[in-house]
């Protein structure tokens, strides 16, 4: 079985306290229930959650969607995005099976990064590690006015922004993430390989703006 790994990097810094973090928790529920009712995703999608504030931590290791349980999230501290990039690369190196002559490995991982602020650590080391790995589609989401899209553009071509971090907007973002995972798991099951750019993902809802 070839997994389709999905890494979610979620900002849990102090500024996410209150409605935003509750909305993210809710979003993870939306993601889980959407993917478990899709036959393609249910068979192929594996999800991991990496949270970052003062440091980065893998809250949920790469888990098949059928067994996935949304983690407890608490908002506090600063925004160690660099540490998160370093950690996700390490996790992928350990968890994603490489192709060998006898066995086809996993599909290239999808990465969704969501942050509402500026990184408070030096992201250069993490960014360097991150760039070395062969990812599938990487989408970075600048949530709310405080996030810096220029920094995110260094990580990936595919940057989207949310005008606000209210629950309705964040919910829409997670719905779009779910739809993107669905589209990708369908494509790989059809033998079409991974989706590689944002243009191939389902069109985002009006709340999610593509940053050019």
């Amino acid at each position: 079985m070839r997994k389709l790994p999905v890494y979610l990097l979620l900002d849990c810094s102090g500024s996410m306290y209150g409605e935003p973090i509750e909305a993210v928790k809710n979003g993870l529920q939306v993601l889980t229930s959407t993917l478990t009712s899709d036959p393609y995703a249910l068979e192929t999608a594996f999800v991991s959650v990496i949270t970052f504030n003062t440091d980065a931590r893998q809250a949920v290791p790469l888990t098949e969607i059928a067994a996935f349980q949304p983690p407890q999230l608490q908002a506090s501290g600063c925004t160690a995005l660099g540490a998160a990039l370093e950690l996700v690369t390490k996790c992928a190196e350990n968890e994603v099976v490489k192709t060998t002559p006898e066995k086809k490995g996993d599909w290239k991982p999808l990465v969704f990064i969501m942050t509402d602020g500026e990184p408070t650590d030096d992201i250069r080391k993490g960014l360097e590690d991150f760039k070395r790995y062969k990812w599938g589609t990487v989408v970075a989401c600048a949530a709310g006015a405080g996030a810096n899209t220029t920094t995110l553009k260094q990580i990936t071509e595919n940057v989207v922004s949310l005008d606000t971090t209210d629950s309705a907007t964040i919910r829409q973002f997670f719905k779009w993430v779910s739809a993107s995972v669905q589209a990708n798991s369908m494509k790989v099951e059809e033998g079409g390989g991974e989706l590689s750019s944002i243009g191939e993902l389902p069109p985002p809802p009006p709340e999610v703006n593509i940053v050019i």
Partner: protein, 481 residues
């Protein structure tokens, strides 16, 4: 003493005790100097305060236990509908009692205490969804019951959420979503059995889920007069909207072309006979030319036929018909079986010999860095490749064989996974034993490949429905055996 005498004695004792307590209280109040008229209020005040301390202590005890239970991280793993579920958790038996899991009944599960403090949730989930179960328990006597939410999620059975929708092509009689064929070739005049063909093709679950047409196609034939067998298999590209026609046109064109070429072709058969005697270069090249005339020209014709179909279809281009193609012609001669083939795209075409466990792959699958990046018959550059003969055509004579397999990647991917495995004779042995045994766990019987077994076509059709997570493409398998 009778009953009423006993009661009277007990009543007297209690009255005596109360009187003693009242006089002790009065003496103490006198000592402190509490006026008589305030004594009752003072007593109420005292009791109230002590009661407050008592209840606060009790509540604190309860809260401490509650927090301890919450910090245990009790959780229930996700389950699957109609699959037996069992999960256990442990609570400190000395601190909690009367443990209940509210809302469990409607899920179809039950909770039992299997040993002190160990609780097991078991049963078979009835329906899918998220269920916010409430774990409630008693802690301290006199305190309300404590409650915490333990969500549990039951997923649908992955197999049950695949929809099975007939394609419009099927409904309109343009192309059935599944088909099987058996070509029975009766025994020779001397009574020795001759090989039969069994073939089947089914719409993949991913296509059925959306009611899309089967892109795969096959065509098989045996010419009684010349005793030639022709087998063709094609797999239309999933991303090309008319590929279900492309695969059909490709196979049908090959059949028509080969029927013409192999009808009473003495020159060709003489060249094969000469080659069987002496496989030197000049005889080989004579035969290669003849084979090319049939095989290569057939592929070109198929390519051109698709081109014409594209021209005749408004708003369609050749790439909309993208399809792979593999085909083989074979005949049994006194000196052995002559087999020639052409293959563009993925899938697999292989001669399998059970006796010595050997295999002969009739070419190499075109696989890009990623699957799905295969080559198609509809690509012009295929025919501009000067190595086309070397790369895509095979010819040879083998003494005999158990089976010649042609299959699309819907079968070869789940069965072999990689190109390396396709070249591994052991993997082919495993494949043929799976073909025989079927998949008993899933209630899918095997295929009985004994001579003249007409039932094999329905068996093969059923066999193709095997379950393999992540592999739901159309599946086609053609066997000459």
């Amino acid at each position: 003493m009778n009953r009423s005498q006993r009661l009277a004695a007990r009543h007297n004792a209690a009255t005596r005790q109360l009187r003693e307590f009242a006089s002790t209280f009065d003496r103490a109040a006198d000592y402190v100097g509490i006026p008589h008229n305030e004594r009752e209020r003072f007593l109420a005040w005292t009791i109230q305060h002590l009661w407050n301390i008592h209840t606060e202590e009790r509540m604190n005890k309860r809260l401490i236990i509650e927090n301890e239970i919450k910090s245990l991280g009790v959780y229930l793993p996700n389950g699957t509908v109609r699959k037996p579920y069992s999960a256990s958790f442990t609570l400190p038996a000395d601190k909690v009692s009367e443990v209940r899991l509210e809302g469990i009944e409607e899920t179809g599960l039950q909770m039992t205490q299997t040993s002190p403090g160990v609780f097991t949730v078991e049963g078979t989930p009835l329906s899918h969804g998220d269920f916010p179960l409430r774990l409630s328990f008693a802690t301290v006597e006199g305190e309300p019951r404590s409650e915490m939410t333990i969500p549990v999620a039951f997923n649908p059975d992955p197999r049950s959420i695949w929809k099975d929708i007939r394609s419009s092509q099927h409904e309109e009689g343009l192309k059935p979503d599944m088909i099987a064929e058996y070509v029975m070739v009766e025994a020779d005049s001397d009574g020795s059995p001759r090989k039969d063909i069994v073939a089947a093709s089914i719409q993949g679950r991913s296509h059925a889920h959306e009611g899309r047409a089967r892109d795969d196609y096959f065509a098989v034939e045996h010419y009684p007069d010349s005793d030639w067998y022709v087998l063709a298999v094609a797999d239309g590209a999933g991303s090309a909207r008319l590929s279900w026609r492309g695969s059909e046109i490709a196979c049908d064109t090959i059949m028509e072309h080969c029927r013409e070429c192999l009808k009473d072709n003495k020159l060709f058969e003489e060249a094969i006979a000469a080659f069987s005697q002496d496989q030197n270069t000049s005889l080989r090249s004579v035969l290669t030319t003849q084979v090319s005339d049939i095989i290569y020209k057939g592929a070109v014709k198929a390519h051109e036929a698709i081109g014409r179909a594209a021209d005749d279809t408004p708003d369609a281009a050749m790439r909309d018909f993208a399809t792979t193609l593999m085909f083989a012609i074979c005949k049994k001669f006194p000196f052995g079986w002559f087999i020639a083939s052409f293959w563009v795209g993925d899938g697999a075409m292989c001669i399998y010999n059970e006796k010595d466990g050997s295999i002969k792959l009739l070419g190499t699958p075109d696989e890009g860095e990623f699957s799905g990046q295969t080559r198609f018959l509809t690509m012009r550059e295929i025919f501009h490749d000067k190595d086309i003969v070397k790369k895509r055509m095979r010819m040879g004579i083998v003494p005999d064989f158990t089976a010649l397999f042609l299959m699309t990647d819907g079968v070869s991917d789940p069965m072999f996974e990689t190109e390396r495995n396709l070249k591994d004779a052991n993997k082919w042995k495993e494949f043929t034993s799976l073909l025989k045994s079927g998949f008993p766990d899933d209630g899918i019987p095997g295929v009985d490949l004994s001579d003249d077994n007409k039932d094999a076509k329905d068996q093969l059709l059923e066999w193709l429905k095997f379950w393999s997570p992540g592999n739901h493409d159309d599946r086609t398998l053609v066997i000459l055996y």
